[in-house]
Chain length 233, copies 2
DNA sequence: TCGCTTTCTTGACCTAGGTCAATGATGCCG
DNA sequence: CGGCATCATTGACCTAGGTCAAGAAAGCGA
């Protein structure tokens, strides 16, 4: 890794609390890697050899049953952290949903560095706690919400997440965005089938709350209505 | 708190890495509290004022929708940690499923102590990472598993968790245990209704894989068969 | 621009699990 | 004990969402 000081996610990634020389030390241990859409960086059950920061792109975390059912258990955006520090096996696969750039570390190297730098470990803890809160919110969605509520919730979450990325670029319009995934992947996140996702999207579209100019693009016309559809906590 | 050195969970709780004098310092900041079955220690959305270690008993973490649907997003056993350090609001309620004893700290006091003791923070991080892995396994269950698979998975998980508690007592029989929750709570964990839970339990019982001597008691006759029913990752 | 492939939508039908309503157990307190 | 309240089971029925099967619409390489 050459220059962390120029990194587009330097203010939001876990590196952000480090002093300039710590940053340099950590930076020397990492390397930038590009990942093509569809490429899997880590396989479920494999030894967890790497961790990484996401610089650009979107990736999914997924687990599968023996008979091939897949559940997406997390979506990872720029500035997010990937991988399972302090653990031998990765409990999920990490796969790119779009072309992506990540900043990769050997897990053992990173683990050691983290243990020697409490500030980094604290950042990691904070982030993990937030991820846990998110995962639990998602458990509520998967356990108790209707298909329509799930779709509405997902659209809102993605729109929030994508717009909050814009700290280096111009402020993005919260109400118009590109889905970083196809219908099947939406289904795998929401615990639904692709047909149900499609049907609910057309339903919400017909009601005028959203518009779908093309497969990936979403325009939210009435955010309050969408919030009402998403209901709940 | 008087005597951490005698604490029954001292070897497994997050305190376990601390030196004797650190333990003493932390111990002086905490206090033992009993919680009655059904009593709520922390409310969803409230300011998160306390964190705690569970000494005895079982508690649930739950989130609710505006219209009263409840999802249990975590079950907490002795030696587990409760609460949301480094965060203002608790994203879930914490309620006792049985009478329980917990060792409570003011959140801000605990936060500060943790920041000053990297070893404690590391333990907390490790534990949070495991909880996150568990939550994600549960997302798979909620998103993709059938009612029968869910029930089988829950029974196995509880039996593992209860038997691993026995580090101070005699080794408990893994295959016979008391459910720390009623049918409604099982339903709320599994994203099912009470009727479905009941039906699936009788189905599995009829097949001879388990026995249900009374409301709470479970005997696993054929663990492998139960594993097969639980299937998946 | 033309095929070819992949993705998405839509329709017809089915089923796992939800809902509603009794009925049966099991406490528990007097 | 005996009467009530809680909890669990069971049955009959219903429905949200799954399954299966066509199409329709994009993307894309030549």
């Amino acid at each position: 890794m050459s220059d962390c000081a120029q990194c587009v996610v330097r203010n939001r990634a876990i590196c952000s609390g480090l002093s300039p020389d710590e940053l340099l030390a950590l930076g020397q241990k990492g390397r930038k890697q590009t990942v093509k859409r569809g490429q899997t960086l880590v396989w479920e059950g494999d030894d967890s050899l790497v961790v990484a920061n996401v610089i650009t792109g979107v990736l999914k975390l997924s687990v599968s049953t023996a008979d091939g059912r897949e559940q997406i258990v997390g979506i990872v955006f720029p500035s997010d952290f990937i991988g399972r520090p302090f653990g031998k096996e990765s409990p999920y696969s990490v796969t790119a949903l779009s072309d992506a750039e990540v900043c990769v570390f050997h897990r053992s190297t990173f683990d050691q560095f983290a243990r020697e730098h409490p500030e980094l470990q604290h950042k990691l803890l904070q982030r993990t706690l937030i991820e846990l809160d998110d995962a639990r919110q998602w458990m509520m969605l998967l356990g108790k919400k209707t298909a329509e509520e799930r779709i509405a919730t997902l659209l809102l979450r993605i729109s929030e997440r994508l717009s909050s990325d814009g700290c280096t670029g111009p402020t993005l319009n919260l109400d118009e965005f590109e889905l970083p995934m196809d219908r099947q992947q939406m289904a795998d996140i929401l615990g639904l089938t692709i047909e149900t996702v499609s049907r609910q999207l057309t339903r919400i579209k017909s009601s005028g709350v959203i518009e779908l100019p093309d497969r990936r693009r979403v325009v939210i016309h009435d955010r309050q209505a969408l919030l009402d559809l998403a209901e709940a906590a």
